[in-house]
């Protein structure tokens, strides 16, 4: 299979990085964790059989890397606050738009942090990394049905959280 996955790695790099950014908040740390994920993926690529399994396989490595990071830090639930490095390059949106985006980002990530680790993982994999339920199930070692139910409950809770904040 060799270099067949070259384009996939490039395509999935922003997704893994975004997953890490949302989960740990700190861009520098998210970049380090992303680099670790890809090093591990490159080294163990021969374990991957088919292209269809790529997303689930890569994000399983990502999730394990993240869990290992939290274990090492001894703080399972807490992530660092979103830092200034999340700011956009100055040449993209208008300042008001930038403020609006940042507020929305903080609202959504703040609401996410009220969920359990597993719920955070599943919601982030689904909406930030853009995985299907099947790929999320592969990454989390769960059934698709379980993923659907956990996602459903998490969305209900998030709706309450975001409703309060928006209200």
């Amino acid at each position: 299979m060799g270099d067949d996955f070259g384009e996939l790695y490039s395509a999935y790099l922003p997704r893994v990085l975004n997953f890490m950014r949302v989960r740990v908040g700190d861009t520098g740390l998210a970049e380090d964790l992303t680099a670790t994920v890809f090093e591990r993926a490159f080294a163990h690529q021969r374990a991957l059989r088919t292209e269809e399994a790529f997303a689930g396989w890569l994000f399983r490595i990502a999730r394990n890397t993240l869990a290992e990071h939290f274990r090492r830090r001894g703080r399972r639930g807490d992530a660092l606050p979103l830092d200034d490095a999340l700011e956009f390059p100055t040449d993209t949106p208008e300042p008001e738009e930038l403020v609006h985006r940042r507020e929305e980002l903080e609202r959504l990530v703040g609401a996410l942090r009220t969920l359990s680790q597993r719920e955070q993982d599943i919601v982030t994999l689904r909406f930030v990394a853009g995985l299907t339920n099947r790929a999320v199930a592969q990454a989390m070692h769960l059934s698709e049905g379980n993923v659907a139910v956990i996602l459903y409950r998490a969305l209900r809770r998030l709706r309450g959280q975001l409703g309060e904040r928006d209200g």
Binding site: F42, R46, V123, A148, Y152, L158, R159
Partner: protein, 288 residues
């Protein structure tokens, strides 16, 4: 909401999400009110990647540049080929075991390796292999006393100087094996039976056999073999400072104890179904 209802609602919502996401996020999706509200929350969450800045070129470069050609990582092997060395090793072990356990010569070698005690020139072996029977005929000669034994035997027999209380020398026999090679000295062994008065000495109160450890051009008489089914105990002991072997045989109505010892070129075998191992060792130590 019951479990079943929740599962159905969760599954329906997932279908709606897939429908909405595959349409690029622009399509209006028909759904019940509850699902519409959750879909709205999901749509807000799906905007998260757009709210995050794109990756810095430096991190893209850093990550993708660490990738090496596939050959850099451990070579890939397909399917069972990866386990080929393990299969080969396992197969070789099985073949060796079959050879060792089925073929008679291998069984003998294996058995001897497992239970062979060397007493110097004499070896005591527990083996399932039958010892080759020599075409010989035993001729017994009753002897009056040890003086006659010294005159008859081709070696100088040792004398038991201490026997258990009540025991006496009841019979003394020189046994000649006719038909053995000439290099084997004859009479082949001397058998002395000790026991209490009035008892049948063939009941193995105490039997002492002595024969010469002898070597010929191609063969040798230097080994005592036992069948494993008969042996219930095998132990290395000391007679004085010299090594000896204690064997307990379980094929008789009471265990038959044998002490085998090599001393001054003689193999000496003490047999009793009455005396303990310590008593046999003590008797052996009294031999002069």
């Amino acid at each position: 909401m019951g479990d079943r209802d929740e599962r159905k609602a969760a599954w329906d919502l997932s279908q709606l999400l897939d429908e909405w996401l595959t349409s690029g996020g622009g399509a209006k999706v028909a759904a019940p009110e509850e699902s519409q509200a959750l879909l709205k929350t999901a749509q807000r969450l799906a905007q998260l990647p757009a709210l995050l800045p794109p990756p810095r070129p430096a991190i893209v470069q850093r990550v993708l540049s660490t990738r090496r050609p596939a050959s850099y990582y451990s070579p890939r092997r397909n399917g069972w080929l990866r386990w080929r060395p393990a299969f080969a090793a396992g197969f070789a072990v099985i073949v060796c075991l079959v050879v060792a356990l089925i073929l008679p010569p291998s069984r003998a070698v294996l058995a001897e390796w497992m239970a062979r005690i060397s007493l110097g020139r004499l070896a005591v072996v527990v083996t399932p292999e039958q010892q080759p029977a020599l075409p010989v005929q035993a001729v017994e000669q009753r002897l009056a006393d040890m003086d006659e034994a010294r005159a008859v035997m081709p070696f100088s027999p040792l004398v038991v100087t201490r026997v258990p209380a009540g025991y006496a020398l009841r019979s003394l026999t020189a046994v000649t094996f006719q038909g053995m090679p000439e290099w084997v000295p004859q009479p082949f062994y001397l058998e002395a039976n000790y026991g209490p008065e009035g008892e049948d000495v063939r009941d193995y109160y105490l039997t002492v056999r002595q024969f010469a450890v002898s070597f010929g051009p191609n063969r040798e008489v230097n080994r005592l073999g036992f069948h494993p089914q008969e042996v219930v105990r095998l132990e290395e002991v000391k007679v004085g400072e010299e090594p000896a072997v204690l064997v307990e045989l379980g094929m008789t109505r009471s265990p038959l104890r044998e002490l085998i010892w090599q001393h001054e070129g003689l193999a000496i075998e003490f047999t009793s179904r009455v005396l303990s191992a310590d008593e046999l060792v003590s008797i052996a130590e009294s031999m002069r």
